[in-house]
């Protein structure tokens, strides 16, 4: 189990050291994802506890509109696919392909967010706000937290695209592409749970 390549700020200089540092950061990001998983798990738990607590107001069946949600799901799944294609382009060393797929990914992400915001605004305009009932508090918080994560991802990938145009593919930008892609897939997986537990189980 000894680490032959000691990855600290070690004596081997130049790119070698950088390479190990990037590995370290990837590993750190995996650990971060565990914490994020638990964060979402907690939100799911609270939502499931409060699902029926409608305080006399409408429940999931009455307010969810599935067609929009299914389109959202489709868009996000596709964006996960394109984010995968971006990594493939990176591995092939194609900066153009990488940038192209990253741009497609954030555009799809933006569409997803736009649809989600529209859905939220519609609910609010119908008088179903976070204040209406425990069920809606749980709903807005869980889905909203996911949306916030996606929005953050969009900003992050945008920043990465700028860095890629400036520095090209280096060990650092390479690691960043890997990490953002990991993050994006993770959000996709979380959405599948949102789709199942919130929407599908809701309208069932």
């Amino acid at each position: 189990m000894a680490h032959a390549h000691h990855p600290s700020f070690a004596h081997e200089g130049g790119h070698e050291g950088h390479h190990d540092l990037e590995e370290l950061r990837k590993f750190g990001f995996w650990i971060f994802l565990i914490t994020d998983c638990i964060l979402f798990a907690t939100l799911f738990a609270t939502y499931l506890v409060l699902r029926e607590h409608t305080a006399g107001g409408p429940g999931a069946k009455e307010i969810f509109e599935m067609p929009g949600v299914i389109v959202e799901t489709f868009i996000l799944l596709t964006s996960s696919f394109t984010s995968g294609l971006a990594v493939l382009a990176l591995n092939a060393g194609s900066r153009k392909g990488l940038l192209g797929w990253l741009i497609v990914t954030i555009l799809l992400g933006a569409c997803f967010i736009a649809m989600e915001v529209t859905e939220f605004l519609k609910l609010v305009s119908e008088g179903h706000t976070i204040h209406s009932s425990a069920f809606l508090s749980g709903f807005f918080t869980l889905v909203g937290t996911h949306g916030l994560h996606v929005s953050l991802g969009i900003c992050w990938i945008t920043a990465l695209i700028i860095q890629l145009t400036r520095h090209g593919i280096t060990p650092v930008t390479q690691r960043k592409v890997h990490i953002t892609s990991l993050y994006w897939h993770f959000l996709d997986a979380v959405w599948i749970f949102v789709f199942t537990f919130v929407y599908l189980m809701g309208v069932r």
Partner: protein, 347 residues
Amino acid sequence: MPTSKLMRPLITCGVLAGTVMLASGCKSMIVFDPKGPIGLQQRDLINITMLLCLIILVPVLVITAWIIWRFRDKKGNKAPYQPVWSHSTKLEIVWWGIPIAVILVLAIVTARYTYALDPAKPIASDNKPITVQVTSLDWKWLFQYPEQGIATVNYLVIPERTPIKFELTSDGPMNSFWVPQLGGMIYTMSGMATTMYLQADEPGNYMGTGANFTGRDFAKMGFTAKATSKAEFDQWVAEAKNSGNALSEEGYQQLAKPGPSNRMTFASVPSGLFERIVNEYSTSRGAPPGYTIKAETLSEEKKAEHTEHPESGQLPPGNNAQKDAHDINSFGQSDPKAHPMHMNHGK
């Protein structure tokens, strides 16, 4: 240790203080002086667990003292010194084994007592149980006697040798109902009713208290639980009924406002009051948002800066206390599924 001489007076002080404390403490500890079957069994369990723990504690402390003394770093200490000796499977099995054995015994004892002392389990008795409905308010206790039709604030009168079925809820922050000499405590929580059976075996005044912090005048939530003979109890009920002091809906709203209270006695209560208090915040039905029976706050100025909850002093429209009355009636049955109001976490 060169300083040990200097420490001697300090240690003496400590030992003295400890002795005084033990001497003055033991005679009055009410948990060890139970006056009812539940408290009695709980005391027995405490004694058993303490004994089991002492079986480990005392030898460990003795061994510790001996090892420290025996192997101290002093010139001419002839005790063996083996700096590399750091593993012995046999010894490790021994001290994994001892705690496992003790915990096993303890777990079995605890399991038996946990089922025997389930608070919602009725106490076997020839006397018919009396129901008392307890509501913790800011910062007072309301006790309703549905069978007698009376109510009290901050004091409780119960007949001796009669099981008392407490149904407990809260119209405010969570509190905890505790009469140590009769038995352990249970939480009072808004939107649900917990059940607990207690019984006093002999007449007396027993200290009762709120045990979960609820804010400013929490310290004033002590009450007395007075156990009397059956005859005295009946007489007291009759007196209360004749006092003519009825608790009205408005009276309850007044009572529920934050503030401490003196003892009070009510000759009658509005019908279904307790059920309404429970149902008001019941999580599955849920009061409409913004509805709080007493969104009164400690300082009105500060509240004005923040609150988004409009105040409303009325009971909710279409209150379903009546049609859900069967829920309330089924409290305390031994089958937990039979009383949905008992801890309904989002069912």
